[in-house]
Every structure is written in C-alpha cells, then in structure tokens.
Symmetry: C2
Subunit: 673 residues, 2 copies
Amino acid sequence: MLLRLDFTTAFLAALLSGASAQTFRRFGTCPTLGCVIPPDQQDFLPGQEFDIRFEIHAPKNGSEAFNNGVPDEKFTATIAKDRGRPRSLNEFFKLKEPALEKWTFSWFEDLFAQDANTPSVVNVASKAYRRVALYEPGTYTVTLNYFSGKTTTAKWTVRPLATRKKAKNVIFFIGDGMTTNMITAARLLAHKTINGKYQTLLSLDDFPVLGHQMTHSIDTFITDSANSASALYTGHKSTVNALGVYADTSPDPLDDPKVETIVEMLFRIWGSAWGAVSTAFIADATPIALSGHSRLRSQYGVLIDQALNGVANYSWTKTDGPDAYFGGGADQFIPGSGSFQGKDYYAEFARKGYSVSLNKTSLLSAPTDKKALGIFCKNNLPVWLDRHIFPENLEINNDPSGANKSAKDLPGLKEMTLKAIDVLHSRGGKDGFFLMSEAASIDKQMHALDYDRALGDLLELDDTVRATIAKLKELRILDDTLIVVSADHGHGFDVFGSSDTKYAAAQTEDRAKRNAVGVYQNSGLSQYTEPKPGVSYNTGANFPLNWDPRYVIAAGLGANPDHREDYGVGKTPRSPASARNGEYYVNDKDRPEGFVVNGTLPTSESQGVHSLTDVPVYARGPCQETFGGTYSNIDVFYKIANCLGLGHGRNVTEGAEKRFGKGNGTGKGKGHD
Amino acid sequence: MLLRLDFTTAFLAALLSGASAQTFRRFGTCPTLGCVIPPDQQDFLPGQEFDIRFEIHAPKNGSEAFNNGVPDEKFTATIAKDRGRPRSLNEFFKLKEPALEKWTFSWFEDLFAQDANTPSVVNVASKAYRRVALYEPGTYTVTLNYFSGKTTTAKWTVRPLATRKKAKNVIFFIGDGMTTNMITAARLLAHKTINGKYQTLLSLDDFPVLGHQMTHSIDTFITDSANSASALYTGHKSTVNALGVYADTSPDPLDDPKVETIVEMLFRIWGSAWGAVSTAFIADATPIALSGHSRLRSQYGVLIDQALNGVANYSWTKTDGPDAYFGGGADQFIPGSGSFQGKDYYAEFARKGYSVSLNKTSLLSAPTDKKALGIFCKNNLPVWLDRHIFPENLEINNDPSGANKSAKDLPGLKEMTLKAIDVLHSRGGKDGFFLMSEAASIDKQMHALDYDRALGDLLELDDTVRATIAKLKELRILDDTLIVVSADHGHGFDVFGSSDTKYAAAQTEDRAKRNAVGVYQNSGLSQYTEPKPGVSYNTGANFPLNWDPRYVIAAGLGANPDHREDYGVGKTPRSPASARNGEYYVNDKDRPEGFVVNGTLPTSESQGVHSLTDVPVYARGPCQETFGGTYSNIDVFYKIANCLGLGHGRNVTEGAEKRFGKGNGTGKGKGHD
C-alpha cells in the first residue's frame, strides 16, 4: 500500500488537536503582541514580489491575557530604508489603505494544557499589503506601533544580486529527506570495494563542489518538506506545512502573505521554460512549492490549479503553467473529490495546449515542442525496488485514468527527467530552463523504516543524475547548465554493521536475534555487490547485484515507533506500527522474524520522523564555486538566483510578455523605486 | 567514572573469542590462499617506506581445507613497474632473501561455528621484506606464485606528488566520531536563531571548503579509530585495531608490515616539528597512530616507547619524539604495569630533554624552546561539561602523578592546542610544523549515549579552532598554515525533536513519557540559548546559556544497547546498560525517570557503536581548494602530503639529519631507483 506518507498523518493530527501549528507558542515568528510578517531578520532578492501582513494580538485568557482580549485596531506602521525617513506603507509603496480584518484563534500553552483541553484564545486585528517589492539593496526597517506605545520592529535585508545570467539552465535535483549517511549507505549497496578501494562510485561522488545547508524552519528546528522546499525556491523560510507564504494566524489557508518563487521570477524576467518531475504525487510539497502559495500543503486541488493558472484570489505574478510536469497524483486530475472544484484537470491542462501522458509509452513519444503533462498513477509512484525487483507489489488499483486496475507501464525518475529536459530545452530555446527533479520516496520510505526501498530510490536519483549529465552533453548544453543536487531535510538514519539473516532466523528469542548483528571487524564487506547464482535483476551497473544477501546491512533511525526489526529487505512495503485505540503499537505482521524495538517517539506516531542534520549540496557547472562551505537553505535560492541573474532594480516583466503578449504581462507589483 | 570507552571493550571481547579480527573471514584482505601484503589496489606516496609480507595459507579443516594443511614453503614473488620486466624482490630492492617464518591461526566461518566452537585452523608459511620504498610514480604489479601454478596479483599505484611545500604548517583537528549531524546539533545548542537566522555561527561554519571522506576499513565497512586514524596519517587503509601497519595473521602484534606515517616523512624530509594533543589518554588510537606501528592498538606501553624512541625491533625511520605531546594517560608514564617494561616514562621523556607538565599551571609556563610533555590525568581527560558545569564529577582518583587524589588543575583542548602551537612554532622555525589536535570524547560520550557530553566536547573543539585561527593570526602564520578539521568515523546520531522534561517526569507509564516528545511544528526552538535566571556558567559565547532547559533536544542513535531515555542532561556521566551473566541489560540507575528502549545491538555490547556515514572535511589555508568533493580517508593524507611537498624520487633524509647529525639520519630504506 502506497500512502501519502510524508507529512499528511502528522498534519492531520495537528489539525485535529484544534491548535494547528501554534501548539506551545502563540505564534512562532511573533513573541510580542504586535506581529510584522515577514518578520525580523528576513532577506529578499531585489524586485521579488511579496505581501506584508500586520497582526495585533489580544489574548483573552492564559499566561499572556491582555486588554480584556480587545486588539488595537488603530495600529500604524512605517518603513524606512537604511537611515532614511520612516514613511507609511501607503506612501512608500503607493498603495491604498487596506481593509481591517479580524479573527480569533486558539493555542495550547503546553502538553498539560492540551491534556486538560484548556486552550488560550487570542483575538486579532490585521491588515495586509498585497504584492509589493523592494528594488534597492540595503536594510529596511519596518516599525509597527500598537496599544499606544508598544512597538515591534523588523529589519529586512535586500541582498545585492547579479542581473547578468551566468547559467542558461538550472537543474535542481532534490532527494527528499536525503542525508550524507544515506548516500554513504547507497554507495555501499551498489558499488564494490576491493581492499578498501571503490571500483566504481556514485555519480554524486564526482561532483567537484560540496556544501552543507541548514534546513530548520523559521519557527522550529525540525522542518517538514513544504516550508523547506519553499525556502529553497524563494529564499524565505516559513512554518511547517506552509509553502510560498509566511504563515499568519488567520483561519483561511489561502490568504497568508505570499513570496514570489524562483520559477515565477525566472518566467517574469527572462521568459524561461520551467518544469517539475517527482516520484511523489505532483501536488506534494516539493514539486508544488515551485508554484504554490498556501498555509496548508494539503490544499492539493487548489495548488494544482495555481500551478496551471496562477493565484486566483489575489493579483499575483503568473508563470503560464509548467512546460513539463511529470509525476504521480491522478487524484487531483480525475474529476471528483480530489480535484479543484471537481473539475477534470487532464482536460484543463489539455485546453491550455498540453500533451497529456498517462503511461511511459505515451510519455516517451510526447512532442517536445508542446507543453507536457504526465501523470502515471493515482498517488505516489511505486518505488524503484518494487518496479524492478518486486513487481508483484504493483498489483494495486492505481491507474491514473481512474479505472480500477494497476498501472504497470510506469516511467522512473530517469525517464521522466530526461523527457523533461527534451521538452524544456526545446521550449526554453535561448531563454533556457529551470527543472526541479525530486526523488520523493527516499523520504517516504525512510518514514516507513523501509531502508532498502529508500536506498533504491536514492540510487535511482544517482542514476538519473548520471544520465542527465550524459544527456546535457549530447544536447551540447552541459557547460551552460548548473546542476545542483541537494535535499530538503534529513532522517536520523545510519548503518552500524551487518546482520546475518540466516543466524537471526534460526534464533527464537529476541535477544538472541540481536546477536546476529556484526559490528566493527564483524561488519565485513557489502554482500549486495556479490553476484548471486541464478539472480539477475537486469538493473545494470550502479545498482546492487543482490538485494537479499545472507549478510545484510544493520541500520536504523534514532526516531522510531514501536516496530519489529530483522534488517532484511522487505518483500512487501513496510508498515512498522499499527493502530489500537488511537495509539500505535508494533505491527506483528511486519518482519515477523524480527525482534521488537520499542519506540522513542510519541505513541501517536506511526512512522519515523524528520531530523535536524544539515544536508549536503552538490554543485557542478556555472557558479559551482559559490556552493562550497556551510549555509542556510535560503542561501541555495540566492546562489541559484544570482547565477540566473534575477536581481533587478525595477519591475521587469519582459519575460512574461514574450508569452502573454506586450503590455499584458503578469500585471505590476507595487514597488518602491 | 571515565573509562577507556572507545574500542577497548569490543577489542577485548574479540580477543577472548579466540578468533581475533578474522571472525567470519579467514583473512579480510586475502580471499585466495596466497596473500600479498600490502594487497591489491593500494596507493603509495613516492619514497614512502614500507614493509612487504607474503603469506601462503593451508587450511587444515573447514570449507577451504587444502593440501592437508601443509603450506607451500617454496613460493616465489616478482615485482614489475608498469610494463617492465618482472624481477625478484631481492633484485628489485637489492635485499637479501629473508628467512622463512611459520605459524598457525584459527577463525570461525560464521556465528553457528562460533556457537559450536568449531574453529577452522590454518597453517602459514611467510616471508617479510622490511623497509623498502618505491620512488617513481606509476603502477607496480606484484605476483606471488605458490602451490605450483596458483598466483595472486597485487597492483600498487605510486601517485605523482609535489616535492614543493605549499604550506609551512599543518594543523589537523580530529573530532573523533564527529558527524555532520552532531555539528548541526551542537550549533543548535550554542547558537541562537531569530526567525530562522542564526545570530552567531560555529567556527566550522566559516570554513570556505567542505568535503566528505569515506571512513571504511580495508576489509570491513565499519571502522574503529585505529585504522581510520592510520589511513588519515599514512594513506593506507588497514584493519580494525591496527595502526601504522597492514594486518598479517601472525600472532606477534609488532611484526606486521609497517607503513611510514606523515610525521615520520615530514621529519625525515624537512626536519619539521610535530606534536599531538588529545583529550584522550595519549596512547589512544588517534594520537598514537602518528608514530605507532602495531596490529593491536591496545599495546599502549610499547606504543608510547615508539613515540619517544621509534620502532625498536626493526630498522625504521625515526622522528626524535614529538615536540609537543599533551593529553591524558598517566598509566603509561607512571612506572608500573601500564608502562613499557615497567619504566618511568616521565623520566624517559625528561632524559631526552622534555619539560614535563602535570597540570594546567605548569603547562602554561612550560618553555616553548624545549620539547614539551604534558600528562594531566590517569586516563581520558574529564569532558568539557564536567570541567565547566558539573565539577563534582571530577572527584575521582585521577592524578597524573599516581597520587590517590583528583586532578583539578586541568587544561582543556584549547589550552593544550594553543600551547602546542607556541612550542611547535618556536621549535619548527623555518621548517614549520605538523600538529594533530583531537577532541576524543565526542566519540567516547556518543558510545555512552551521553549526547550532551559529546556535544559539549564538540563545542570545545569548535572553540579551539576559533582560538587557533586567532593565535595563528597573532603569530603572523595564518596564511602559511593549512587547517583541516575532520573526523575518523561517525555514530548514527541525530536530533529529531524536543522533549518536555517536566511533562515526561509527571507521567508514570513509559508510553506516556514518550508523548513528551515534540516533532515537526512541536519541536519549537532551542531553549539552550535562552538565558535562565540565576544560571551563569561563565563559559562565554559559543556555548549554551542553559544546559538543562525544560524543553531539551530529543536525539538518538539507531545503534543502542538496552537503556532508559529521558533526553535530559545527565548530571553524572552515563552508563546506559549494565551486565548480568555476561550480557548487557538496561541499567535502571541511569535516567531512572526515563522510559525503556530495548536495544538493536548484540547483547554483548554495553554501548553504542560506530557507523558508516561519510564524515565532513573542513579546510582553510594553502591548498584548501583541493579538499572539496567526496573522497576516501586516504586521500586526506595525499592532499596534506602534497601540500607539504612530501613526494620525493629519492631517499631524502636531510630533515632527520638536522637533528640526528649528518650521515646519522634515520638509516636508509631500500628503494628501487
């Protein structure tokens, strides 16, 4: 069973708690009662469009109760550049005064309050300034005045960035949840050593430049894939579950202050082509954050509409839809409860000139001069291991047409990515392209503690990177193309030895089964690279020769639900814990030969969770030298944007006008010039 | 209680099993019955001295039984450069035929054989060619002929390396067991974020160049600290527990084929000064591998004698002893059972002109123009957290004089490193210096699952790096000095959320205690950087303001013995599991408020174990640009050696002669010219 594993479960739990993401803090980016959004310490690209929101909080009860719960509706705000004169936002941005908005939200002060169901309630008065931009590099100070005498100050930095393009194309590979530890393990499985020397290496191992990026959210140190993708694409960190916006406290998930994304800017300024490829459902956080603006990543239907048609409820920059869009997730395309307004999004895309492919055969023959949509199953794509080694697991109702049958003519990440390059290269022409290609199930399978399936998809990513370099060489655009491979966050995975599956299976007691694990000198060498008589998967070089050796890797996360462990390859996808009375306990049907490991996570968690670790950034091509060292995830955006010459001191819409027609660009943001 | 945690326990267990490191393989680097050591695929630096051993194996019983257990004593061997004529080793190296040696060893074929105590026995015939070198870059093919018709071939590569020095000095910091995950966690504890932006950063975060190195052993994928340190210092991978040698199968741990280390070469060629600093006992693997040559890292006494006097049982290159040598480990210096031949090594060092310091006060006032020894406690130095936050834990019998009292006038890594730089800079003069400085207890405390103590020592390392850069600037040698910061291996540690210690302590059931963990949006921000009223440790910037907040990090390894977890700071050092009938069970005295996590490791393991992950390499200074990307741990050696101009096409002994006198260098190796 392939579920939307990623963050959906945890997200639903948070919604049900009634406190949403404010649990244990009133509002993560605002310790005071007056909130400036974007908050203090944020960075901007010159000319990047964004919204501003002010909120005044009046807590009615709880530890912060103030002014009987009546918020100040007469708050004022100013903005000043460097040491310049503070001016009202209306004057500065040449805007009319926005309408006052009001709402109420609640939160829990700690777990004791949550157990007792005693929420703290907050009344809010707010105004939003929509679609502005700052063109001149420098420091801007925003001051919010409220409750006669209280002030909140936010300092924003507009970074000086290049206006000249150094790379014609950018291909950004994201291994969702991929860490250095996993890359090391994948190398061990697929590449052979002789006396300590690898005979072949990962494609990633050949990248000349390596960096580390910090993945934390704006208001928590553990991130999800929505706001981390958003940080990589916009240069702005956000809150768990949010993408393309800073989170506010209003109940509407589509009114939060937006920030322009890299593909929106690239299209507006240069008119480049863009695409997204993912092994997840295409409305999932990592692909959808390129075009989506929502406080809640789970607004799948509307997010697909935004990808095609742009933001509908506000004037906002548009991209004319992706030029190549390949992945799973037919649930948002088949007319019905999963699609926006119940519409048929295959038809909506076709109406806008897209070729539509529902299987690999059709994908491979799709024209490269038309925009291309490819949706290959209902939800996430089956993983590499099931497509290649255990195809019996494909026998599920998963056809992207909605017919009750299994989808078997499936492309992998490599086929989707290479086809996307053909389409984007053809359509981008001299204006180039931006492609994001995501190996989504590294994360999804790590959540399920299914390490082999995760590492199989990591090897598929590496194989895709290798094939991409060959493809770009063949198209003679390798030297014009910046390739970045990174991740959005990690899981605390590592390999610590080998395990003798034969010995473990012969033991009856849990403690004796553990003695099958060999550490240090007993870890031995990888048996995954040793040919096994009679076994050939025909998966070529760069993948294991034997996925089911006697001596398997012994690996684990530090963060687990209750589960059984046998360290071996799961011949069916893994479901480590099962529910009983709303709590998760060990699933005795999973790895029945294994021993029980009781969990370290809350009993409400059915899976492993994300971790803190900095993740690697591999770069090659133009601007590669800027990717060394250690930096924040938002810096990945600024490095790419700098290489694409996206820093402009005026509202540039020439790119969009190439497609939408002169004077009919994406409309104009209000900027200070 | 501060034990020699690192690898000693596992090592002893291996010895007791009677199979030593050959468990489950007859001999890791030799799948055939004829063994060439160094084996196939090894790399060499031009002019690097080394030994060669051939072994012919005749298994008496077991799956490989051959020739009734009688080894071929008439084996022959040749060596050929590139496509040149194969010549006998005697001719090639101008050596006399060495004597034939014979011995027997045994191993277990798997865990079933070990349980049944049915070892496989092997008779061996062998010859060793001592102290040779290859001067010309290229490929050398060694062919061993045995059992009339069998052959084993080894290809060796002598890399072309620079003869010109680009860096005058090299400082190599090793965070033992330190991974990217731990660095990320340490940053979270000691540095504050505001709205997702770090207000200060680690010193490591400022390094311009980052790489990853693969840590595996020559014959297993999980390494210990001996052979990984040895790979970093010699360019040759080896076997668990071995340092400065390739492991052979003979019973004598001091007759295995040696390889010359970086300080031996640096001294021989340039006469530079060298030093080692460690928070471990100074005979521990990471510091002692600079000068030591032994199959067994536990030969502590003789290894200290080798550091001072060089290898005694064979003609070998010598270093005249370290110029600065600071750490713990008085047990090898106080005359008695721990010291070599029961001698007083304080006196031995003093006799060779060393100043001897036994406390911080004495260290700080030691002359910088004399060689300096500083030994500050009996075993490992107490960790940063105990020295600064919980000094009551220093109350143990630990005085380096051997007196029954606690050592309290203790230097930290920073004081030892800065003093070492003063001594080395003064003594190295225009010939420069090489310093290795090790934060040893990152590893030792990770073994004990004592994450706070490990991260405290990581922050001490970072603080030491920062102070080192300032010191080099002050001495005006920053631009002449290559600084490399790396690790020898990892542990599978990561942070996955926060835990509410107050809530956890208020719950009585294990499962309820787990619900104190907050993941994703509930992870919140670091409370370690929030000032706590009444608490000041006076540890300055770059360390936590509060080590014991209500919301602590929730972290773990995937590799654990049975233990209790409460995620909080341990006010005494941690001992997670305790022994009962020779097996380890949860120690109910450790973290009594915590919940039980049953282990994932063999029940013979009392601690966590090393992991597979590639570890980071940070570089700044001359040659920094060569440290980007991904490479093997041996490449760290070649990069440093290249920067120090150690590749020479002839036997250079000018450096050593500066100290030992003209014509009285370190003796001459036999090289092919």
